[in-house]
Amino acid sequence: MTDTAVRLSDAAIRRRMIADFWFYFRQNRGAVVGLFVFLLLVIMAVFAAVLAPHDPTQQYRDALLVPPVWAEGGREGFLLGTDAVGRDMLSRLIYGAQYSLFIGIVVVSIALLGGIVIGLVAGFFGGWVDTVIMRVMDVILAFPSLLLALVLVAILGPGLTNAMIAIAIVYQPHFARLTRASVMGEKAREYVTAARVAGAGNLRLMFRTILPNCLAPLIVQATLSFSSAVLDSAALGFLGMGAQPPASEWGTMLAEAREFILRAWWVVTFPGLAILISVLAINLMGDGLRDALDPKLKRS
């Protein structure tokens, strides 16, 4: 009997927490707009095949560099115009959303998982383990992130997968540091000692007892890293080191469009705008998450 009562109140507490979270998140109007745009992006990515008017790689040889429909010379079927080989810009942009979300999710997952494990180990065990791990993290952080990612891609070979791995490696120390700092703060608290006295092993203490109490700053950092990942992978694509043509990744599209900047503004403008809007939306969301989850970091 007591068991169900406890479980019920657990659920109630969780509902209360979600309500609280939503209350604070909603206070930040920008964050709500960001969330809305982000959801649109997700819908665009998931339903790309339905939403896109054309195949993103189909080349219409009779429609090279057609301007957007409202500009002079624009054509009915190509709302945002076509690129230099006659592919529909709108369809490519819609499919490009898949790349950006995929990159963000993969990069953040790898960096978050790696960072949490490394940070937990460093913070929990302390001593020389901590010193060695944190010095290694310092070394990675000493390199400008884009440069290190570029060199890693040079080692692994250009391509989307390698670009994602490289960016994840570069981001991982941020998560490790954050986790370590939270773990060091938490591990001396009474509830951890209580769990230890009750016979919890190291692994249980690390992952079940301490970790859930360190998640708030990690979620905020994950959101910020998501937007940086979109930005950095686009930069790598732009430099020819990320997704390779004919992929409709936005950075790669910009790289292909570079030689036409003075002739066809639309091939340059739209992919960049897509990157900016997605990154901005995620950053707005991140601000709101920080306000809602982490009162200590709250913007004054």
């Binding site: 310092d138 070394v139 400008p144 040079a154 080692i155 430099l239 900047i261 340059v268 707005l284 004054s300």
Partner: protein, 335 residues
């Protein structure tokens, strides 16, 4: 203070060794034969291969190779570029001023605009100025700068034809480099219009490179000001009837600047990454473009040493920021 500096310096030794280890390991984890990669020759006879291998030290045990590598670094030998056949350090030194000039102008623009905007936004918290400037800052912070650069080229070089598309100065002007900084050299040359030309080449890349630091500095200044404005000593200063401008300028700003100075310093790493993109877009002959070109030309000695030099540079700048922080905030160094 001396103990504080020494402590910081000691702390850097493992980081420095780690950086050298990464640069050293980089060539060895590349797919392919390191001898071929570092020598840049193809179709080698076995004899020539053995000769090169001995010459580059690849026939020794790895730990000895690393010690040799460290020894060469400490003697200023950073290898020879496969493409230009010049010492990497010479190339680095020749291109470095271009990047410094660009980065310096960018950080000056970012600070001169970012700090006042942040201060005004904090004083007039909630006003339209606060909202517009902070929204703009968030847009700037989210900006893909390689795209932003292209847009500015379309507008200012294409449509308005105000600025040139690329390079550091018009081909009409030629003078031997004295300082390596085009703005200064063009003035020293005494050639009419040279300074103007150098300035017009510099302005767009600087603005592009300044965008993200500007956004970060404005946001950081605002939040630091808001924090300080809530402190007791500011309220006291107000209560005793001090002029608002004096309260802000003397009491609040000086204390708010402590975290802002750190933020500005920490932007150097961001600038280095930004320089790679900015220099590529504007064909700016600095170390960012040099690194990109070397990576795509597989000029591995340059990539290896360039990576190392840039990382050490960022490390040293961060040290200087740390020391400045200790200087302006005595609480830190007595911890």
């Amino acid at each position: 203070m001396i103990r504080f500096i020494l402590g910081k310096l000691l702390y850097l030794v493992p980081t420095f060794l780690g950086i050298t280890l990464i640069a050293f390991g980089f060539v060895r984890v590349l797919p392919g034969d390191p001898v071929l990669l570092m020598a840049g020759e193809r179709g080698l006879t076995p004899e020539r291969h053995a000769e090169l291998s001995a010459q580059l030290g690849f026939d020794k045990p790895v730990w000895m190779q690393y010690l040799d590598f460290l020894g060469r670094l400490l003697h200023g030998d950073f290898g020879i570029s496969l493409v230009t056949k010049k010492p990497v350090l010479t190339e680095f030194m020749a291109l470095f001023p271009a990047t410094v000039e660009l980065g310096f102008c960018a950080i000056v623009i970012a600070t001169l605009i970012g700090v006042p905007v942040g201060v005004i936004a904090a004083i007039r918290r909630g006003s339209w100025f606060d909202q517009v400037s902070m929204t703009t800052a968030l847009v700037g912070f989210s900006m893909p700068i390689f795209w932003w650069g292209l847009l500015l080229i379309i507008l200012f070089s294409g449509i308005l034809q105000w600025t040139p598309v690329s390079g550091r100065i018009s081909l009409m002007y030629f003078f031997p480099p004295v300082t390596g900084f085009m703005l200064i050299d063009s003035l020293l040359s005494g050639q009419e219009g040279a300074f103007r030309s150098a300035l017009s080449h510099l302005i767009l890349p600087s603005v592009v490179l300044a965008t993200i630091p500007l956004a970060v500095i404005a946001r950081q200044t605002r939040s630091a000001m808001l924090e300080v404005m809530g402190e007791d000593y500011v309220r006291t200063a107000r209560a005793k009837g001090m002029a608002p401008a004096r309260v802000v300028g003397v009491h609040a700003l000086r204390n708010a600047m402590i975290p802002v100075v750190t933020t500005i310093g920490l932007q150097i790493g961001v600038l280095m990454a930004g320089a790679i993109l900015t220099e590529t877009i504007f064909s700016w002959p600095g170390i960012g473009k040099w690194m990109i070109d070397s990576i795509s030309r597989r000029d591995y000695p340059v990539v290896q040493s360039g990576l190392l030099l840039i990382a050490v540079l960022v490390m040293v700048v961060n040290l200087i920021v740390d020391l400045t922080y200790g200087l302006i905030n005595p609480r830190i160094r007595h911890r």
